[in-house]
Amino acid sequence: LVSEAGVSGVGGNPATSRGQVAVAALVVVLIAVSLLASLLSSPKAVPPYLSVGAAFVAAAFFSVRVTALVAVWGTLQGVVLAWFVDEYRGWSFWSRLIFGLTTCGMSIALAALRARREQQLAEAKVDLRTADLLRTLAETSADPIFVKDREGRYLVANDATAVALGRTRGDEVVNHRDRDLVSSEIADWIEADDQRVFRSGESLEFEDVLQTEHGERTYLTHKSALRDETGAVVGLTAVAKDVTARDQTKRALERSEHRFRSLVEATSAIVWRADPSGAFRERQPAWSDYTGQTWEQQRGHGWLEAVHVDDRDAFVSRWNQARVDTTLFDSLTRIWHDPSQGFRHVACRAVPIASDDGGIHEWIGSFADIHDRVVAEQRVQRITRARRLVADAASRVAVAVAPETIADEALRVLAEHLPRHGSSVVLTDAEDASRWKVIAFAGVRAAVADEWQEFRPGVRVPVQDVAVTGRSLEFDGPADYKLAYPDLASSIDDAGAMGPTFIVPLSAGARVLGTVALTFGEPLDESSRHEVRLALDELAPVIGHSLNQAQFLQLEARIASSFQQAMLELYVEPDPRLHVTTRYQAGSVVLEAGGDWYDVIHMPDGRIALTVGDVVGRSLQAATVMGRLRTAMRALVLSGSDPVEVLTRLDALVETIDGAQFSTCTCVFIDPANERITYTNAGHPPPLAIPMVGEPRFLDDAQGVPLGFGPGTARRSVSMPLPVCSRLVLYTDGLVERRRESLDAGLARLADASHAARRLPLEALQREIVQSSFADYEQQDDVAMICAELVSQSTTRFTRSIEPDPGELAPTRRSLTYWLRAGGAAPERSRDIVLAIGEALANAVEHGHNGRARVELDVRREGDQITATVQDRGSWADQVVDDTRGRGLRIMEALADRVEVDRGDHGTKVSLLLPSGSRDVR
């Protein structure tokens, strides 16, 4: 609307309206009538006044040009035409010319005046409208709009302008200058800006920062020169835009960009772009620089070739997953690094840039080289692992390992974690510092010597120097090593290693136990050497400590073992009634020694007690506890009447002996006279009874809790027959327990072995049991064991009633031998007696039986004489002539003082009288 008004106003053309059209028509009609009248009618009929009238009409309504045309036409018509027409004689030519020119000039002047007036009116009207519009526009605008004159005075200013200048309303600003409104400092540069506009006469843009009641605001001000009609610059118009928010955003963006760039630089990140499928579509300089891939190699998906082949599958699958999910891709991988010609660890990320349709427009990827960090972490892990492994090795010392084993473990740990090298551990003798030996080696040709070697005068070896100084040695290579230790030159040459050598002391406190030495096959760079030093620094104290502990434990174990042996080397008083063999067998695991015991106690009432026990724990402490328990038990047995009484009192006693609690034991009272036993058991493996006939059987009817288990422990005993010739086996768990095997399997093995060997002499039976237990298994724990055979009810009388079976002869002779020997008979004498009685028994078994009748043997010791009778139910009179039997009789007669053969109706009775040969008559 404004522009339309402006255009029509400035154009100055008469407004087209019906009135104007009518006037124009009138003018045309007047001209036409005067023209026709001049040509067609008499001269009188056409006065020149008509054309004069037309000119005035035109002047009244039309523009100057139109009026001029009409007036000139009227003048020409009135003057020039009249020249040629005689009827206008009344007027002189000159009067007509003056009249015409006057008319013409007057009408043109009139038209010009009118036109001028009309234009003035139109302009005034447009100005009014424009100013209104401008003001309205300005007032409604949130942006400052103002007009200043050349003196800098505000002619127009809206409220927003006032706000920018620290006021509220435009009125407060108009007719003021900046200097009146803001600080002179700000006014100075505003005026300077204004002057630039005035001088250049152009439109310029300025950025002003002004203090307003809303704080500091930034305005972008567009100022244009305001010119008057002459084109002279009379002022300026300005529109300002508050860009504070835009400015802050921009600055924040700049800051974040800066941060991002710093980050990128700091993390040595490589940035690249890829299309939605992950293909490279344009050259990626950063990628090329890092990986050395040419554009041809990396284009499309070729860039994946730079990813380590072992990582590639995982990398691609993660990428695909990120594509599907349109999420951040994030992966740790190894990428070929061209400058260092190796793969390096990188943290790779890619961000999907979303397109308008919600898909992926492209990927912006980056990876940061974290190789150094990863390598450092891996190194820390390796060392931690090494430490753990050696700690593990050290913990295994607790289950008794030799220094050699510890050293082997340590060298294995080193071999796993360090580059190719040969290593050895040398120990100096704890008891004699002038001796040393190699106890372990790996990767080098060295001999582990069982023997200690003397340090020889004049011959230097590293272990000596390290032991003296307590400091590590390090040599760059074989040349340096040989220079320092010329005596080792040949062995260094033999090893052929070209790398550095490290020799580190193994210390326990201030004492250097030995050294660990490493020689590397190849030269090492400084960082690798540092790693070696680090590892050795970690390991050496652990190895040293472990070795020290092992040496100490070995020493303790030796003491414990000696102590144990000494404690158990008890003299078992021979008893003709009970044949006993005992055994204490130390296990292979030296440190497990100690704590097992056995005892055979002859009670005043004629019974014999057997005990076997096992103290919890090991080594010296267990051995001492064992000694106390065994002694206590012996005292309790001698004053007690029943196994339960003994163990119950022992339960109470155990509370007062440190380390004795939860010991286990078996206690068996044997009453030979009645051929019975009474037994009880405190958490111990059950004794085994082996009858002469039938299956062995475990005595597990009186199992109880271990000793000192707690108050209110009710123990019970079981009493059962034990015929003569029966055997008992008491033992500790080392005999039957195997790792990863149930106790039942061990018990079954014991029962089977005992049954198989039941007819063997007692000593052989014991040997067989032990052999079968450890034939296919290395004995770990100690074993204490008692085997006993009930020989006779009495010390002075030996009786047997045997089947008429030749197989019975040998066991009977054997029992008789025990009885005789335990009764004090000399070995040769007892052999004679056994031979003589054996002949009588053999005759009875071979010939004397009648059906299945038994053969009765009765041997008595009376003073220094033995009397024996063999009674059978048959008669061997017929066989006397037999060569064999005759030989038997001759033997009996040769050995005995007297032989009587009484052939009765119901059998034959042989009586022998033999010198007992007893050194100790009981």
């Binding site: 007819r759 030749p806 197989g807 002869l809 040998a810 002779r813 040769e828 052999r831 004679d832 056994v834 031979l835 054996g838 002949e839 053999a842 078994v845 071979e846 060569d883 064999t884 039997r885 030989r887 038997g888 001759r890 033997i891 040769a894 050995l895």
Partner: protein, 118 residues
């Protein structure tokens, strides 16, 4: 003693057959002894019976030895009974040495064999 127990170990020497008796020999295993001795005699060479490791022998054993060796038609057989052997006294009272050439060591017996049949 069970019957299948080894009581005889036979050694083949170039000029004799060595028969070592072991364990305990009585009525229960005398058959094994007899068989072992018969096998030894069957080889035709002089038989040398050695008893260092014999724990016990009674008249049944002596009789078996006598039947197999002492009464055979083969060249003179020998018995080695070291004085410290557990059964030295048994042999002494058995009367068996009278029927055999008796020695205290194997070397003595061998020397006699090498001197030739007597």
């Amino acid at each position: 003693m069970s019957g299948d127990e080894v009581v005889v170990r036979i050694g083949h020497e170039p000029d004799c057959t060595l028969v070592a008796l072991v364990g305990e020999i009585d009525l229960s295993n005398v058959d094994a002894l007899a068989k072992g001795l018969d096998d030894a005699v069957a080889r035709g060479l002089p038989v040398v019976i050695e008893v260092s490791d014999l724990e016990f022998i009674d008249s049944a054993g002596f009789a078996a030895i006598h039947r197999s060796v002492a009464s055979s038609d083969a060249p003179a057989n020998h018995l080695v009974v070291p004085p410290e052997a557990p059964t030295a006294r048994s042999f002494a009272v058995s009367g068996l040495p009278a029927a055999l050439s008796c020695h205290q060591t194997f070397d003595e017996a061998r020397a006699e064999i090498q001197r030739g049949p007597t």
